[in-house]
Amino acid sequence: MKKRRLFLFTIVLVIAIIFSNYHPTIASSVGKETLTMITSPDYPPYEFYETKGGERQIVGFDIDIANYIKKELGFKLKITQSDFNGLIPALQANRADFVMAGMTPTPQRRENVDFSIIYYEAKDTIVAAKTSNLKKPEDLSGKIVGVQLGTIQEQNAKRISQKVADIQLKRLNKVPEIVQEIKAGRIDAAIVEATVALGYVKANPDLLFNIIPSIENTSGSAIAFPKGSQLVEPFNNVLRKMKNNGELERLSKKWFSATSSTSEALSPNSSTKIADGLNLDFRRIIPDIPYILQGIPLTLLFTLSSVFFGLFWGTALSFFKISGIKPLGWFANVYTSIFRGTPLLLQLSLIYFATPQLTGYNIPALYAGVLTFTLNSGAYMSETIRGGIQAVDKGQFEAAMSMGVTYGMMMWDIILPQALKNILPALVNETIGLLKDSSLVATIGVVEILRSAQIVGANKYIYFEPLLFAGLIYYALVIGLSFAASALERKLRKSD
């Protein structure tokens, strides 16, 4: 009896070791228990934000697959997000361990990252206005065709344009924009992945789509990893298992259920006229309002900390400029010319993506945003502050100096308060500018007001309502800021 127990125990132990052995290899192969996945959650049904009631959760086909793999391999999963164009740079910057974003393994991408096997074969469609009668690739001759920049659809559209004469491609950043361009008549059609197209056609009855019969190299989705990642094989094993046990089939049904019946159901060529006007219906975003509002604290935090630090940095730079010490003045002038002379968006992308590779510090997006805006607004403010300081009457400097006040105290107590009072309107302008420019940090994945609105738009396949709502919030914030500024100005003017 005892022996048998011991025997059983040993067997269980051996099996446990064999199986558990599997897990440590995953964890130890990359040296961590938590794997970070990065995706671009504006691409339903692959991945998008579930935003009802103010909660924010990335869901979708890819997410379900990632969670299945997570369970199989026994790691903890952290999901982060960025623009589609920022996904591969994020892998290269070691910000994430893998990308799932309905991404197709193109040869160009393979130069920079490794891919898993294809887990979903997608089909491309031609989306166009119902009235347009654009159904086959050949119909696109002489037309303007929209595609999402950096996607496999862009590649496929190029391929079509090589065969069909006279296609003009227009590359846009997001599918919602493409859809709006069709509705506005600026482009005639677009190449969009079938499941995505389905959602948009449902939400915009004036559009229809037709599946493109066969393009060689069908566009399938695969998981992307940094070059040489140890994760490829284990992930492939799980994907194969999912294919075999029907899990992939089940998930694709869950998310793409309507796809199979689309063509017939949705492309009847009824010639309903495209509706005039914007067809606004704000009721559609009411459930998402709490979610959009959540962007406000972040936008404010971001703006105010950038202004705060920018003011200090700008003051320091302006001191360099008036110090009369050549190297300092030279540095400040070159610095200013560079930061004023290059686009803010470029600076933001460089700082966010280059910092991890240069310093090894994986700078969070919000920090990168505040840092960039501080450095940038510091350059602008340094000129404003320099002007403000130089506009203070020379007699003020002399009076302070003639009583033996040191340079630092003189600047802090006597000169800067007067300079700041004079340049306050200019500083308020700068702050308002920063508040609105804060929407740029969306490109590195910070979900502020505008990004929240775009996410809601992408989920609901609508465009104008969330955008207008976001505009209203920005306007209200700017008005609030202006009020606060005039109160401050009144306070400062009490000595007049």
Binding site: G395, A400, M401, S402, T406
Partner: protein
């Protein structure tokens, strides 16, 4: 010990090619009230501003109690605490109240306790006849009142010497009297003063010594009596003819 507070030795100052001061050698002794006179452009103000190094001399030396303060190692801020200046345009700090203007430097520079500085500041305001203006901002004061506050601010530093740079030139005539009154009573306390002025009557009555500058040179250095009654050089004679 030499009783000279300030001594200049072949002091020269030029702005570019324009020579404003040429070889001024003189002393200002403890307790003297020196009026510095001369036609406009003669370098009076520049001379005064060279004494506390608001202008850096081009050549020559300035000694403060035998120390050459034109040397680079000089801590000029420390010297200036003992050698304060009153300006033509007052230069009160507009964002501070009258009392804050007066107590700022004593607290920050001399490390005086805030309460003490305020008590002393109010005393000084009393002295210049503006006690009731302690909490007012300078913008609310007339020119004459501003200049009296500026004098109180200078006195609050308890300096060894006060440099007055045309203290009444920017004032309406009816304000001049009040300011001169304050300066006269100040002279009677025995504090050392150097005053650049166009107020001949005041110079004659209050000064213990007249320095007459002409074209950047010290043309005459005499007692008021000698200067006003028997001016030596022609330029001084012409100048007095015009002024009186």
């Amino acid at each position: 010990m030499n009783k000279a507070i300030i001594r200049t030795d072949l002091l020269c100052k030029s702005f570019g090619k324009l020579e404003v001061l040429q070889d001024i050698s003189t002393e200002i002794n403890r307790g003297e009230v020196v009026a510095i006179l001369g036609p406009s452009g003669s370098g009076k103000s520049t001379f005064l501003r060279c004494i506390n190094l608001l202008e850096i001399p081009t050549k020559g030396k300035v000694y403060f109690h035998d120390d050459d303060i034109t040397l680079p190692k000089t801590n000029i801020a420390q010297i200036r605490q003992r050698l304060v200046m009153v300006f033509q345009h007052f230069n009160l700090f507009p964002h501070m109240t009258v009392l804050q203007n007066i107590t700022y430097a004593p607290i920050k520079v001399k490390g005086l306790d805030k309460k003490q500085a305020q008590i002393k500041g109010l005393e000084l305001l009393e002295k210049v006849g503006l006690a009731e203006k302690a909490d007012v901002y300078p913008a609310k004061l007339s020119g004459g009142q501003k200049q009296r506050v500026a004098i109180a601010r200078a006195l609050a530093m308890e300096p060894e010497m006060i440099l007055f740079d045309e203290p009444t030139s920017a004032l309406d005539p009816e304000m001049v009297k009040d300011v001169l009154e304050v300066m006269r009573s100040l002279a009677n306390t025995g504090i050392t003063m150097a005053i650049v002025t166009h107020e001949m009557g005041f110079a004659r009555e209050v000064a213990s010594r007249i320095m007459f500058l002409d074209k950047g040179r010290l043309a005459e250095d005499a007692s008021p009596k000698d200067f006003f009654v028997h001016p030596q050089c022609d330029r001084a004679k012409q100048f007095l003819e015009k002024m009186l």
